[in-house]
């Protein structure tokens, strides 16, 4: 951990909001990217972004410098995403309006993408959607491991620390996730 980062954390632990906001600025792009990867919805990602950093602000006093700060931060991110999805999936069952809203949001996303990138052909769009759907079908933990490893490039040992599991368990989640993705994308990679 860099000395400047440690200083910021210590100041934030003493209640300095500006120090905390500097820490946020160092990490929030990656955090938001990770949240989006896990939730696949910008509106949800924005909500969870706020929840995560508020939670971090309240509990930064508990950070004991026994691990890297990002490991501790990402653990909160992953847990928040998993909890958010769990709550949302319960709500989704409760209200058809939410389902419609989600579908509209997804359609708008696809539409915006096609308009803003006209050169991309529909096959690629379809592939994008298939990958997203494949990720959606993963369990929350499989999704976290797969996303952190494949799209964020974290080592399995780091993911194990973030998710507070053994490396063997993380490998297990990863292999299962890849197996499911393999089934989902069979038509694409075989061609």
């Amino acid at each position: 951990m860099e000395k400047s980062e440690k200083l910021l954390i210590l100041k934030a632990q003493r209640g300095s909001q500006s120090a905390f906001e500097s820490l946020v600025a160092n990490y929030d792009a990656r955090v938001l990217g990770l949240i989006y990867s896990m939730l696949n919805n910008w509106e949800d990602a924005r909500d969870v972004y706020q929840d995560v950093f508020l939670k971090v602000f309240k509990s930064i006093g508990n950070f004991r410098f026994q691990s890297e700060f990002y490991t501790w931060l990402y653990r909160i991110v992953v847990n928040e995403c998993i909890n958010y999805r769990r709550k949302r999936s319960q709500k989704m069952h409760d209200s058809i309006d939410d389902v419609v809203e989600q579908m509209e949001s997804d359609l708008k996303f696809v539409h915006d993408e096609v308009i803003s990138n006209p050169e991309r052909n529909m096959l690629e769009k379809e592939l994008q959607r298939e990958i997203s759907q494949g990720i959606e079908h993963l369990s929350p933990k499989q999704k976290a491991v797969f996303t952190l490893r494949h799209y964020h490039g974290y080592k399995l040992s780091e993911i194990a620390e973030i998710m507070n599991c053994s490396e063997g368990t993380i490998k297990n989640y990863l292999f299962r996730a890849l197996q499911k993705m393999k089934e989902q994308l069979r038509d694409y990679y075989q061609n």
Partner: protein, 315 residues
């Protein structure tokens, strides 16, 4: 020889750069020889390319600024980590039980412990004095027909017995309680299993006082039990008991019988010494004569000595 399954799991680890050099080499060697794994490897590479086509949307700076501004405003309204909390807020937190989950959990555990403590005190009071029986099916002492379990704790002086009557009964109480001793006396007479008898006698060894029933039962054991260990232990319990006139009367008869009839020399020595002790070194001459030819040298010598003293009191 590692299986294909082992190498298949390694394929993705290789793609992710998670394998050591040696593992990489092993995998490469296997793939070169195994067509099936080679196909899997190529398939994984293709799939990896497909997965990489998912566009990773990096949030642009404007979105981040907007989010940071929102966060800034929300942080202003949030309690800072080390901010001094006003006493009114503290009080409200106490009243509304707004504590961290750990404090809540701790409080719950503490309440359970306090509850258990109060409960134990209450039930102890309800049960009367500590000498009383804790559990008895009814107030009468049932007839013992067999013993299932006996356990004595010398530290607490508590004994637990499970014995058969018409139905199993478990009682628990202080060893010195007359009811407990009555049960123990019955057990000594009714149960033929040496281990239970021995444990009962051992427990009685720690008793501060022995009830008549127990004394009689022990005396019967001393005279009739087949097991010399049990006889000796019972004898020791009896000989250690305070010498009352009634006890002296009983034990004199028992000790003489043992001295004259018991085949075990340790028993006879114990009886001989006891007789000497309760009579202040004096022993009936008939008894001394009777044991003059005892097989135990100790008894022979001692009895000769006593006889000599009787015949020559000046020595």
């Amino acid at each position: 020889m590692k299986s294909c399954k082992h190498f298949r799991n390694m394929i993705w680890l290789r793609i992710y750069g998670e394998l050591s050099e040696q593992e990489n080499a092993e995998l490469a060697e296997h793939i070169a020889q195994c067509t099936s794994c080679q196909l899997d490897y190529e398939e994984a590479l293709s799939m990896n390319k497909v997965l990489d086509k998912k566009i990773q949307y990096a949030p642009d700076e404007n979105v981040l600024k907007e989010l940071r501004n929102d966060l800034h405003l929300r942080l202003l309204s949030v309690r800072k980590p080390n901010r001094q909390i006003a006493w009114t807020e503290r009080l409200w937190r106490i009243i509304s039980l707004d504590f961290s989950p750990f404090i809540r959990m701790g409080t719950a555990v503490a309440l359970v412990i306090v509850g258990m403590f109060i409960g134990s005190k209450y039930f102890q009071m309800k049960g009367g004095s500590p000498d009383a029986l804790k559990k008895v099916s009814d107030n009468s002492i049932p007839k013992v027909t067999g013993v299932e379990f006996i356990d004595f704790n010398p530290a607490t002086h508590q004994i637990e017995i499970t014995f058969n009557t018409m139905q199993d009964v478990t009682v628990e109480g202080d060893l010195n309680t007359p009811e407990i001793q009555k049960i123990l006396a019955q057990m000594l007479m009714a149960d033929n299993r040496p281990n239970f008898k021995l444990r009962t006698v051992r427990a009685l060894e720690s008793s501060a006082r022995l009830e008549n029933d127990v004394l009689q039962a022990l005396a019967t054991l001393v005279e009739t039990d087949e097991n010399p260990g049990i006889r000796l232990k019972a004898m020791k319990v009896l000989t250690a008991a305070p010498v009352t006139p009634k006890m002296k009367n009983l034990m004199t008869k028992v000790a003489v019988k043992v001295l004259l009839n018991d085949t075990n020399s340790a028993m006879r020595i114990e009886a001989f010494n006891y007789l000497g002790r309760i009579n202040n070194g004096y022993m009936e001459s008939d008894v001394c004569h009777a044991v003059k030819a005892d097989s135990s040298e100790y008894i022979r010598t001692k009895s000769s000595h006593l006889l000599d003293r009787r015949e020559n009191p000046q020595f």
